[in-house]
Symmetry: D4
Subunit: 251 residues, 8 copies
């Protein structure tokens, strides 16, 4: 809640334009909608600059559908991540215009043209170490696009074949923010971070042989990067990386 809003409200009360009771009610009447099992935060776009995104894992299809319907009514748009196939099918039945990306497991109902956020000018580059890391990278790319940013992709450029990465110098140079998705030893963000001066967001994935321990190896490697200024999000959290990149591009 911004202080300007409170100042305006107080001014109204002082001027007699608003009764104290009504002011109290308004302060209480916060901008969310209560579905009993979920409180939809319609004002997040104002407060954080991004629409609320529905994390679908652990929710029933009924819950997801109800939330998305309310979002569609209120904003003309919604974005779901980690959408199970069955849930996606049910959503598609109701919102035929919705885009379902089975690799990224995202379900996106784009806003109509007039309400869409103006696209930022900077470009977000999503770099992906190996083919097996693609679902996470794709989640990041889809979310970033839904948040209104131009996105480029660079895939299968692991550190064991450096020439593939070095050959993409132009793409690296063009980016405003770089999201680097890697499993196994998680070394790619360090190498990318040493080549560029823009922000680098590292996403560890759970891909790897035994002692990757579900992505722990890559996560620790990225946290310990010797390239200064690399930041890290949770394992397999392509959505979080896109949200962070979006904060930067709007910053």
């Amino acid at each position: 809640m911004r202080s300007e809003q409170i100042e305006a409200l107080l001014a109204d009360v002082a001027a007699g334009r608003l009764a104290p009771d009504a002011a109290m009610t308004r302060l209480r009447h916060l901008p969310f909608e209560d579905l009993s099992f979920a409180r939809i935060d319609h004002h997040r776009a104002l407060r954080q600059g991004q629409p609320e995104v529905v994390f679908c894992e652990g929710k029933t299809t009924e819950q997801v559908v109800a939330i998305c319907e309310r979002l569609a009514v209120a904003t003309g748009s919604f974005l779901g991540t980690r959408v199970p196939e069955a849930t996606a099918a049910e959503l598609l039945r109701r919102f035929p215009r919705m885009a379902w990306n089975p690799l990224a497991r995202t379900a996106y109902l784009a806003p109509s043209a007039e309400t869409a956020a103006p696209r930022s000018t900077g470009c977000i580059l999503v770099v992906c170490a190996g083919t097996s890391d693609l679902p996470v990278a794709e989640e990041a790319a889809v979310v970033a696009e839904a948040f209104g940013h131009p996105v480029e992709r660079l895939t299968d450029v692991g550190v064991a074949g450096l020439h593939r990465l070095l050959a993409a110098g132009d793409q690296l140079a063009r980016a405003s923010v770089i999201i680097v998705v890697a499993g196994m030893e998680g070394a790619l963000p360090s190498v990318v971070g040493g080549l560029v001066s823009v922000p680098v967001i590292a996403v560890p994935t759970s891909i790897g042989y035994g002692a990757s321990f579900g992505g722990l190896a890559a996560l620790l490697a990225m946290l310990n990067s010797c390239a200064p200024g690399i930041t890290v999000v949770n394992i397999d959290n392509g959505f979080g990386a896109a949200a962070a990149a979006s904060r930067i591009c709007r910053g």
Copy 2:
């Protein structure tokens, strides 16, 4: 190594302005200086937009002094982190102008006015959960200042007393990037991230009772933040947070 540099060099060779041997030498003669125990990367400022910073833990005083002297000669400036007290004393003896911050354990020889980087316009806010987290927060603040950014500080605003944080809404609103330093349960970045739309960089610290496990509790909490778009650096890594914030402010 940028492709333009190679193109220029190839053009010189083709034009007979440069012998192949000399071109080969130049490609080899990369912009670092070899002290046998360290290779100083003088061109990092060009490549990554930040000066090389000397991480002093695990290095002998002799090694640190030798590296700093070369940096001073080459660039007129140096910045050391995790500087042991004895090493700082020896550096101060040689560089009386150097700033030694014992809380942050940083040693900074500022460049002379004419070579200093132009200061960015955005402001970096360093938020610190508790008094015990101050050394890490201070490292972040000192490094960010050395990198040329205006810095503000907000201290002792842990989540168990939310009103202290909520009272600082103006400071939060003013920042371009926010570094949030917290130990114990590491919840502060989530709360801050829910209040602002700018990038939030979380720094877990090793402060806490038994099951904080040297900062692991705070680290995991921050990686699992329910506020979208929080990124995380290593435990106690104030330097890394400042470097990331600097990448963003220049971005």
Copy 3:
């Protein structure tokens, strides 16, 4: 075994009202019933003030049914947690009056009116961070109700949107004990603990992206809470939180 019981027994022996052998037998004949694979503790309600609850995970349907039938005979009531769907179906076939809650996975045969425990006056509030944490919160709520306590619920009030929690100040103020269920970074108990003076019991859930490590992140965060006096139960252990809240409300 209470000392009064022994004293009474010794008095009976001294008075010749009880033969030593019979006294010995009585001391041995402790109040449990042996089903060979389970020893039902009928006196727990006396000793601990709560009925024995059947934890159904890892037990066969046959074992669960046999235990519940004995409990129904002896006390007119039973409560099962973590009940698999098939086991619930079999129980329902035999006890049509039983309440089966598929979200909480609880099966409850309420006692008949005259044997029901008198309801406590204090209210237990179950606060739930996100929709995905609902099954654990619901287990806590159902168990607390079965133990005879009035229960209120407050759902989807995660710390990234503080206004949703702050808007529920009345509910928080009304509670005698608050159970806070949260996954991801587990920050909600710290924030709630900072707002109220009543006991707060934190329940970490296994909900979250990769580095939540099955709830470990939330568990560690809650153990390290900077709000003084938060206590914690096991991951996903809604039952345990309700049992602890019940101990407090009867205390």
Copy 4:
């Protein structure tokens, strides 16, 4: 921030008794005092029912002294935990009336008689498994006494010699809340929890051979207690257990 306070303030503004600017200032002027490195929360006693306690680990002697002096001025009392010996000596020099407990490492300046909180009627029992666990148990006991509760102690009653615990049945029966402090296998809370119906708060300690892993073994055991309704605080966190017990006794 309580809604009544806002209501009163809004009424004042509506009545012209308070200018909007002044109201804004007052909303900002929250009840903490800013020492630049610490924000003292003088109103915590109102909000949470307990005075703010100074956690001294990681703070310099100067910082601790400054905070305690402000607390003494504002409330006539302070309580420090984890107080290093040198800090305690400096505090004693300034506050000769202060009680310094070197085993518990607590420093307590009791309030003068007229400002002391009314003592609760229930009794808190601190049970300690072994002699090596005494410092943690003593921290719990001292803090509980400072919070105004009668405290009893029961020491060296580990589960490998059950008769020692069983002989203390009267003490167990008398308690309103029981804090159980144990290292090694952490089994004592389960046994105590099976004997009583009042709330049991378990405190794991870092005492033990190799695979206790700094108290992790006891912590996990307590979280997995088969006695329903045991809650757990952080390793070695006697303070936290006392704060939780105090919440219950006031509840």
Copy 5:
């Protein structure tokens, strides 16, 4: 290889009763049988006093059947643990006399009367904390019986209801070795170890809520037992406990 065997062999060579080549062959011809994917150690009964037991997890049905057939031919008996249901069915088809225990997942072809090992006189008591721990306890009991020892069972005597255990004092007193199987907090071996003077072997099980971490909580608790002289085997390793108990009873 025992020194007596070598001495006898050397004596034979010296006496000309055995050619050096033949002696060499005999030293090489060690007592195992090579099935290419398995080397059956027929002499283990001599060397270690126990028949070789077939651990079936991770082996194909074909491999298990082949190994068991060779063992049946060579010794008239076999014992399989962790036998999948399908493998058991195939074994039963070929060895109708075989005993299949689906709870313990053991498959045992008892030796014919004349070759059976003489039964030891001491009794092995298998104590089981909860009904959910029964499969592990049963594996221990079946294996101990197959190794020729009298076995008693005591079930559902967890530490939260001590009276159930204390009522079984006679059984505890009668045992030569006690195997204690427990999940959750793993406290039962400490309590049993404090009551008896005979060897106690603790078996942690993987039963429990979230933070049992697959039995780690119980394992650590047992390793840290405050009852002196408790030893521990691997999580869920009923077989190993029986083998250890058998070593003791023959010792």
Copy 6:
């Protein structure tokens, strides 16, 4: 990229045999092929002496088939590891000559005779502790053969029956490199390493009871081997061991 290649290229440019633009193109035109979801590194055989191997876990059948077809066209050969059964079936349909090993889960299209790499003279011995470890050992053996090395196998020689290993002294003596595959306590590499002077590569497997923690126990044991000069690869990583052995045999 080797310096000789650059020198040659620079010489061509200097001699006018190659235009700068063309040289630039050639430097850019690095030897990989872009399938959008994968960049095939055809020159790896030159650079690292081994063909690129397709790790199939986490790739769709379509992706694997597309990659293998390109490799077959370019080199007449391919080798896949961790091949799911369905993927193998699809590959077999297209490449009937392909060898599918269901135990090792490898799919190998051998090169035609004239392009096959010359076989090395040294022999790689794959030692396997137990029958359950066979799939990993077999992966190592198949890959080593595909890389052109003679391979021998020695199976079921765990340390609890040392005579089985000691009887195989000749095989151990014959090997140039020994790969030792073991789960459970992972002791076999230490024993083998104490018997031979050639390189020993240890492969931990995920086989074992509870506290093997998916191979962690064996991994840690091997890293801590008291036999000097044992090196270790990832859990279950038979492929990695074969690749390392191949580097040594060509070394």
Copy 7:
């Protein structure tokens, strides 16, 4: 508390030989002595067959001396483990006859001849993998001797030089119980367990390079031993191994 004791007491009460009150007092008057910070369990020798041993880590010198003096008065003997040097010096000043072993860190006051326990006939063999493991092995040996058992020692027989162990076949054959102390990969118990049929107790030590993680590597290896019937005690817990061996030898 044994049932015979209760039966005798009940008989006395029935016969009028004992008043109920007096009987109650006697049941209460349990056989321990209360020093306020410790309850000495004088009857443990009767109950568990072993004297109470004083674990000195974490106790002050004053506490240890007070406990030992009471034990000396009551039993004429005491045994301390993990005794700090200063504590040992103070004990020696008071008990000049006491044996202080600085390598094992044990302090032992042997009972006078007439009260000493009869020595068992079986022999306990303590096998030690490396010289660095000696302190733990020596603790085991000293404790076993104090418990009245003949002890033999076998040192520096790690698995990387098997011939050193195999040469000691006679010693292995002679033992009734074998304690195997090993750090690093912890493989020695598996090898010993494969050679003998008597009970083998494994003691992991915290000796090793980085990834031994304070003995965790050896602990896990021993728990996963492929030699059936190995049991394990805590890391560095020589005392526990001796206590377990003593239980077996008296069994």
Copy 8:
């Protein structure tokens, strides 16, 4: 023990050249020397091709000196690792010719010229990521030299400044085996492994900020390397890497 030795011995017995008793004695008299606290393995050079190296951590100065003196007498040489400064001083007093390297903490008494092992022809390259990793790298280099191999060093070539590594292409190309020492994210071995075809041995170090967890981050990264054929030794184990490299160079 080689089979040829046994064959020769058996032939001697058969020929009457050796009495059975004497043969038995000889078989027993294995080639180690018993110092009671250590068994020196003089024949290791024959069996494993490398002299026994004294790991000095956890041994007293007296033990180290005694072992080194026996080695000097028997072989004219010794090599100690992890030598504490005080122990080194005492060794230097007795062996003035000994080389003491305080950075690597090695103490080496080189053999006299005539007994020195013939030097291998291949070169071992020790690559070190950062200056802080130098002690481990230097241990590897000193040990490799003592084992008779030519050694080159390449220092401070971390992956965040790739040009420093790429500029050393000649050194990489020249090596027979490469040891790569790195802390932090441990990415260097993957990059080096992608550039060369010779064996690469990775050594993680314990250098790094908080979440390096004592080298665990680097260890896991190296085990998960995407460059095929990288093998790994224990954290900080420069000695082990040198021993492995030596096995390869002699292979």
